[in-house]
């Protein structure tokens, strides 16, 4: 019985975290947008507008459920749930700190990628169920985009997995710092198992993994429909894309899913490439910085700060770059990112056999 309480407790905790994160992230997003454009952003609700998103969500919760008369009722209502669940389930296998992971799956990364791609089905359901040309167009674009960009993202991750030799995310993180069970080499030449810190992160295990991380980051932007790859929501052409017909709590869930997805992809990148809960500070002689800054609380701190940093980068990119055209989007994916992804994977194979032996 206590078993189930733990399950539900962890689920609620994760949901609470995602909800809080979404509130903070929407506020941060609007502030960043303001500052980048020489504006102030929200300023009126609360001190410096800090209660703005809370007011927004209260408004959304109070709103009526409106289902268009011509909509496919079942798909329309189920879509936000499926979209949110797809992202929410992804958090199950994500490690937060040493020993702190909701489920230490031995196929963790594979599971996350698989469950997150269910998102595409949810978006298609939303677009089709709305019975609205803009929604349908948006969802078709979204699905085409997500399915395409999963390939370079997957290839980039495989390149890292081939070096790390595990799909268990907790093990993968452990092997990027001073708690590693295998010898680590900075760029394949310098033994850094005892030194740890930033030098032991996967991006520095092999030079091509840095490229792989950039590939993954670009592809992950497209996977969560963020600018410059936000053609599924392209406000200027498609009203609101697949969520045109949604309002109230359903829209809130779509929004929550979008921000949760941002956090999730940033976290996958951090876990696979950037050391997860490992500290960036290395041991330097008597200064055991890495030893001092590794632990459960430190783990949470590093995971959160690294992930939030990359969420910030996603926002920064959104308010800088213009949207790509649909054909440019596909060109970038299939003609640039995918070949580079294959190249990274091939180099990983060679690296594993020739350098890491």
């Amino acid at each position: 019985m206590a078993f189930y309480i733990t399950y539900i407790g962890i689920g609620l905790a994760l949901f609470g975290f995602i909800a809080l994160f979404a509130l903070a992230a929407v506020y941060a997003e609007r502030k960043i947008a303001g500052f980048v454009q020489d504006r102030l952003g929200p300023m009126e609700t609360g001190r410096y507008g800090s209660l703005q998103t809370l007011a927004d969500i209260l408004k959304l919760i109070q709103k009526e459920f409106i289902t268009p008369a011509a909509a496919d009722k079942v798909l329309f209502i189920a879509a936000p749930v499926i979209i949110f669940m797809a992202v929410f389930f992804g958090f199950i296998a994500m490690p937060w700190a040493p020993g702190w992971v909701p489920a230490a799956l031995n196929i963790g990364l594979f599971y996350v990628l698989a469950v997150v791609s269910v998102d595409a089905i949810g978006i298609l359901m939303a677009g089709w169920g709305s019975n609205n040309k803009f929604s349908l167009l948006g969802s078709l674009r979204a699905v085409a985009q997500i399915v395409s960009y999963e390939i370079p993202a997957g290839l980039a991750l495989i390149a890292a997995v081939m070096v790390a030799q595990t799909l268990n995310m907790q093990e993968m993180v452990a092997n990027q710092g001073i708690r590693a069970t295998v010898p680590l080499h900075f760029l394949g030449v310098w033994e850094v198992t005892e030194i740890g810190g930033i030098l032991a992160w996967n991006v520095f295990q092999a030079p091509h993994l840095l490229v792989a991380y950039v590939l993954f980051f670009i592809a992950s932007l497209a996977e969560c429909n963020r600018a410059p790859f936000d053609i599924p929501e392209a406000e200027s052409e498609l009203v609101g894309g697949f969520h045109t017909e949604y309002g109230g709590l359903r829209f809130a869930f779509l929004f929550l899913a979008e921000y949760a997805m941002m956090f999730l992809v940033a976290m996958i990148g951090v876990v696979v490439f950037l050391g997860g809960w490992n500290t960036p500070l290395p041991n330097i002689g008597a200064l055991k910085l890495a030893d001092w800054t590794t632990g459960v609380i430190w783990g949470f701190f590093w995971t959160l700060s690294k992930t939030l940093f990359f969420v910030g980068v996603q926002m920064w990119i959104r308010w800088t770059l213009p949207r790509l055209r649909a054909d440019q989007l596909m060109t970038l994916c299939w003609k640039v990112l995918t070949p580079l992804g294959f190249l990274c994977m091939a180099i990983s194979g060679i690296w594993r056999v020739m350098v890491m032996v």
Binding site: F35, V36, Q37, D38, R39, L40, I317, T320, T331, V336
Partner: protein, 186 residues
């Protein structure tokens, strides 16, 4: 293809540095700089927002904003109402039996302004009425922030006469006319 992608990457990085500069520049607001200064265009970063009701931009005392009438200086010549392209000024005049006073610039007043209404909802802020006014009693002010719950509240009445007073003046004029007629027929 790779060349284009690489170029896109480089330009994206360039754009990102620009926005990052603006992001950190947002810690301060832009200062007011005299347009004649050589350094006028040097301020590229910094928040431009003016938080309107709390802080206001400096504007001239007599700018092209809402109208104001100094009714004591008005000679009720009706020129402003005639000049108005959107007919937002309505003036009713009552003739006086003689000179009723002088305006501050010395013009003689012979008419009472029974009604002097300006519908600010119709006004297009062209300022033509202020140009034609011979006594410069109708002016534009620096008031621009005015919103009301009733549209009728945007009709400003500048006449200082009560309805009783208007009636009295009208009767006075009718009596005066009648007396003149009577004098003519004598």
């Amino acid at each position: 293809m790779l060349k284009t992608a690489l170029q896109a990457f480089v330009t994206a990085v360039k754009g990102l540095t620009i926005t990052l500069r603006h992001f950190f520049g947002a810690r301060r607001s832009r200062r007011e700089v005299d347009v004649r200064k050589a350094s006028y265009f040097d301020q590229q970063e910094g928040v431009t927002t003016v938080q309107f009701p709390k802080t206001k931009m400096p504007i001239p005392e007599v700018a092209r904003y809402q109208l104001d009438v100094e009714i004591d200086d008005c000679i009720v010549c009706d020129l402003c109402a005639k000049a108005c392209p959107v007919d937002c000024i309505t003036i009713d005049a009552v003739k006086a039996t003689g000179v009723i006073g002088k305006t501050s610039d010395g013009s003689v007043k012979r008419l009472y302004a029974a009604k002097f209404d300006i519908d600010m909802a119709k006004c297009m802020y062209c300022g033509l009425c202020t140009v034609v006014c011979p006594t410069e009693c109708i002016t534009m002010t620096d008031q621009y922030d005015r919103s009301t719950f009733q549209l009728a509240e945007l009709t400003y009445s500048f006449s200082d006469m009560t309805p009783e007073e208007v009636d009295a003046r009208k009767q006075e004029w009718t009596r005066f006319q009648a007396e003149k007629e009577a004098a003519k027929h004598k």
